[in-house]
C-alpha cells in the first residue's frame, strides 16, 4: 500500500540504507558473558505524584537487584514506567492484610524462563532494598513474571539475538543473592 506514495528511487535508497546498517551491525562483536542471561522488559505501574528523584531511585534499585539475583548483564535494562491517576489503579490485598498506600508499586517482568529460586530471591531483595533505601513499605510492592522463549526477543536491527548466538542463553547461572544492605 505504500508503493502508491513512494517512488522507486526512494525505495531503492531505503534498501541501500538498510544494507549499510546491516554491514555495521555485522561488525559488532557478540556478547557472551560467562554465567549471565539477559532478562528484558520491566513495566512499573505507579500512582502519579512521585518526584523525579524517587522514580529514578526505584528504577535504579530495581535494576541493581535484577543484576544481583537474576544474573543479567549490566546494560540489560529495559524499563517502562506507567504513571496513573489515583482512580485508575486499584490494588487491594487478596485478604492477606497488606496496607496498600498511594505508594503502591506494581512491577510486571516479561522474561525468558528463570528458576523459581531466582524469582524468589528477586522478590525478596527488591522489597528489602526499596524499604531500606527508598522508604517504600514492603506492603506496597506487588511483583509478577510473564515468561516467553528465546525466539520471542529481538533487541535491535531485526535479529533474534538468542537464536543467532549473539546472546548467551545459559540457564544454569546461579543466583548470587546480595545481602540486604
Amino acid at each position: 500500500m505504500f508503493s502508491n506514495r513512494e517512488g522507486p528511487d526512494q525505495l531503492h535508497a531505503g534498501a541501500l540504507l538498510t544494507q549499510a546498517w546491516q554491514q555495521i551491525v555485522g561488525c559488532r562483536h557478540a556478547v557472551r558473558q560467562q554465567g549471565v542471561t539477559p532478562i528484558p522488559l520491566l513495566r512499573f505501574d505507579l500512582i502519579e505524584g512521585r518526584s523525579e528523584s524517587d522514580v529514578r531511585k526505584i528504577r535504579d534499585i530495581t535494576h541493581d537487584v535484577l543484576i544481583e539475583t537474576l544474573q543479567v548483564p549490566k546494560r540489560d535494562r529495559y524499563q517502562v514506567v506507567h504513571e496513573h491517576k489515583r482512580s485508575r489503579m486499584i490494588v487491594e490485598d487478596t485478604g492477606l492484610g497488606f496496607v496498600r498506600s498511594d505508594h503502591v508499586l506494581l512491577l510486571q517482568v516479561t522474561s525468558r524462563p528463570r528458576s523459581r529460586e531466582m524469582k524468589e530471591a528477586f522478590y525478596r531483595l527488591l522489597v528489602e532494598r526499596l524499604a531500606a533505601r527508598c522508604g517504600i513499605s514492603p506492603d506496597a510492592v506487588i511483583e509478577n513474571f510473564v515468561t516467553n522463549a528465546d525466539e520471542d526477543w529481538s533487541f535491535g536491527v531485526g535479529w533474534a539475538q538468542f537464536l543467532t548466538g549473539e546472546l548467551s542463553t545459559d540457564l544454569q547461572a546461579k543466583a548470587r543473592i546480595g545481602s540486604p544492605a
Copy 2:
C-alpha cells in the same frame, strides 16, 4: 553502588526496619478460603473521555464478574486503567463484523491457569453485565488472558504467597456462573 551514598548507620536502620516489617508480616494469618483461587492483574485500555463514574462502573462490574466466574477472593483486585488518545488505540474487527466505537474496551488479564470453561463464562458474563448496567455494546469489548505460574506472583513483602502456602491454589474450583441480571 548505593553504599557510596549511604553510611553504615543508615543501612543498619534499613535492615532493622525490614526485620520489623517481616515480624509483622509473619503474624498475619494465611488466607485459605475454600474453593477460591486468586487471579491477579487486569489491564484495561480505553479511549479517553469517559466520566469518572463510567470508569468506576466498568471496574466494579468487571471485578464482580471475576468473583462470580473465576472464584477469586473478594479483595483480590488488581486493576490498572490506561486511557489513550483516539489516535493511539486502533481496534478493528478481524472481519467478524463488529462495529467498534470510541467506547471500545480492551481487557488483558494476567493470571495463573484457569479452566477453559471459566474463561468462557468470564467473557460472556462480562459482556452481558457491561451491556445491561453500563450501556456498553457487546461489539466494543475485547478480552484476552495471558497465563503464568504459582512462582510468578508476589503480592507483597517479597514473598511468593502461592509457594509459601499463604494463598490457596485450588484449581478444581468450579465456576459459579451468575445469572445475567
Copy 3:
C-alpha cells in the same frame, strides 16, 4: 451489589437488550479465510514528541508487516500506543553496541503461537520497513512476543471465536515474506 441501585425493570430491560444483541450477533457469518490466522494485541512504547503522522506511519507499516509475515487477516488490527516522558522509558543495549536514541520503539506482541520462522521474518521486515519508509534506525527497534492460546481470546460479544470456529486456527500457514521495498 448492583441490585441495590437498579430496580427489576431496569434489569429486565438489560436482559432483553442482551438477548437482542445476541440475535444480531448470531446472524453474522463466520470468517474462515484460507491460510490466515489472527494475531491480536500489539503494544507500542514510544518516547513522547513524535508527530501524529509519524505515529500513524509506524502503526500502518507494522500492520502491513504483520499481514505479510504472520499471515493475519487484513482487518485483524489491535494496536495500542503508549507514549512516555523521556525519563520514564529506559532502554539500554545489553552490551550489543546498539545506539538507542529518543526514537526508540519497543513493541510487545501478545499472540497465539506463531512459528519461529514467522517471528524472525516479522522482526527483520519490520526493522527494514521502518528504516526505509520512516527513517527509524534499526538500532532503535526492540520487539518481543508473549504467547497465549485459542481459549484466551474473545474478540467481541463475549464469545471465544477460536473455540466457536468463527475464526480459523490454521497454524500451518506459511510465512509469505515480502521483499524489503
